[in-house]
Subunit: 359 residues, 2 copies
């Protein structure tokens, strides 16, 4: 039995004055050796450029919003064996833990800024694993512009658990709501859909090799899409300028589209044939590795799903393309009661499980 | 294998227009029945007065800082069997999860405002347990003025895990740092020290009954102090007005005092005889239930430890007393190299374990 031990509670005297430690301090340092080392060597370097993180030696972080700016906060928890493969590379786990949170911020039109990371470690800390985690977080920080600002580290008798709370900045009043879609708005997705679902299918089917029908490069692409969500910060200002409603696609396009419509109290339809698939995902489907339903309902895409009013569509498309990204119009919001995914003949597709649920 | 499922991703169409659900929506609702119910019935009511929480149906929360105001963020993670007794009352678990976070905010001089809660549930949700958790969170919200603003709910094969990120508001530049103590400052604690450590000792010694030497009322007091941290929001403005440095006492007074001195690059000494003990804690020590070392090093106090410049001491004491709370001057910060706890004869006390560490 014990109690919470934020990083900041485990600081030890800095040696800047090169003074001997006192008795309590030395004993304290000995007792907290492992935890202090983790904070100092693994996490503090990730926070070193953040003024309000205080080198992770205080109890809390300080965040300032500029005049005319609001903060968007989002939280995602990842459990080993549930959200990532327990024996996967820690560098990917670190990257994904930050990526899935940044994905929410971007879909709301917020510019990623910082995050707090709480981690429950199983048993004695594995320094090699933690260094891998640190590397993945550092890569994600560089890609997303979202820096470690605080957190907590504890032990658990259960599987490793990572809890990230990320925050982003947005001009006042500009957050893109899930409830903002309106009849007549066009429905867009960014990037390609279903790659991660295909990647997970390949991972799960090994070593019997359902993915062996694919070439190595295609497999690697799909696995990478599962392991490393790549939300695009450059989308945030474009979404807040043009989207009436948006969310990220994490639990499957079909189910998430239904949620967007539900929150907006609208109906809507998307054409399955218009949903952008990558070459490797198309090949995986053609080879029978994965079904169209699995691509549309599998989740882990971490692309943006947005409703865009008709008079913003051209600007939206142009700005996304100018940013070097892709977006495709896949459907429309209407004032009906139905949310549909239509096949190439215009018939509604029925899915056994349009989205993921934990329970 | 799956992926993150924030509360907001599990909204379903509101029935305000009393329309039939569409096919996907109905199937989606059926699939996510458990999770949707948890969000709607357990968590959404806790967020209903928070404008930026959007009823927990969006992907993120919106937080605004007034001009001249900064946000203080802190994170604490609690694991069943590590931070709270797995078979303890869920109402206490909920109260404590918020209380330990609010304690950090108050010690920094910040007024508690809101929190995000991520929860990993073991197996199928136990609705009775979740209702207890909700009740405890609601009581803590009322006591601390800190309201649910967002979060995430996932499943885990391991023990229950709660991760709270709380935020508070503070006038710009007024955060009370752990590193702010200066030689000559007086050292104060609020409330009484060691009650929770004695309470935990009693809990752990049952059913063989180490606590039976105490009366029922004393036992109940000490257990309550372990189960329900009671940081006092009224202290926040007093600390930011008068304290040069502060932190909350969570890992034991002796070790936390060493950390305050370390962060401030100062020495310091506290007199053990001046450390305020409650009547029940004094009795527990007299009866041999708990030692002085355990009271001073046990942790879970969630009281404030502050350094106060000499010319602020009278005002600090007066304002704390006027707020109906207690504070005691227990020592002083100096420019030496030692951090000491002195016994009644002025000798340094030595502790086998001045504070808690996870590893």
């Amino acid at each position: 039995m014990a109690f919470s031990t934020p990083w900041a509670r485990n600081c030890a005297r800095t040696n800047s004055k090169n003074r001997p430690m006192d008795e309590i301090e030395r004993r304290g340092r000995h007792d907290i050796h492992g935890e202090t080392d983790i904070i100092r060597n693994i996490f503090a370097p990730l926070a070193k450029e953040v003024e309000g993180a205080f080198g992770l030696i205080d109890d809390a972080a300080l965040v300032t919003a500029a005049p005319g700016e609001e903060l968007v906060l989002t939280a995602d928890m990842l459990v080993a064996g549930v959200h990532f493969l327990p024996h996967g590379a820690p560098v990917d786990t670190g990257y994904k833990a930050l990526g899935v949170n940044v994905s929410d911020l971007i879909a709301k039109g917020a510019d990623p800024a910082g995050y707090l990371l709480s981690i429950a470690l199983s048993g004695k800390p594995d320094i090699a694993w933690l260094n891998g985690l640190k590397e993945g977080l550092a890569e994600a920080q560089a890609d997303f512009g979202c820096l470690l600002t605080g957190g907590d580290t504890v032990s658990t008798p259960g599987p490793l658990c990572l809890s990230v709370t990320a925050f982003g900045r947005i001009p006042t009043g500009k957050m893109v709501m899930r409830s903002g879609a309106r009849p007549g708005d066009r429905v867009y997705v960014t990037g390609t859909i279903g790659d991660a679902a295909a990647g997970l299918k390949i991972l799960q089917s090994r070593p019997d090799g359902a993915g062996d029908a694919l070439g190595e490069a295609d497999r690697a692409f799909l696995l990478s899409r599962y392991r490393r969500p790549r939300p695009q910060p450059v989308l945030a200002p474009i979404l807040r300028a043009h989207a009436s409603g948006a969310m990220d696609i994490s639990d499957g396009l079909a189910g998430d589209f239904a949620k967007l419509c539900a929150a907006s109290e609208c109906g809507g339809a998307i054409d399955a044939a218009r949903v952008p698939l990558s070459g490797p995902a198309q090949k995986a489907m053609d080879a029978g590795v994965v079904s169209l339903e699995e691509l549309l309902c599998g989740g882990d895409d971490y692309e943006a799903l947005a409703s865009v009013p008709d008079d913003h569509c051209a600007a939206f498309e142009n700005e996304v393309n100018a940013a070097g990204l892709h977006t495709v119009k896949i459907g429309m919001i209407d004032d009906g009661n139905q949310v549909s995914v239509l096949d190439e003949t215009g018939n509604r597709m029925l899915f056994s499980r349009p989205g993921f649920d934990h329970f």
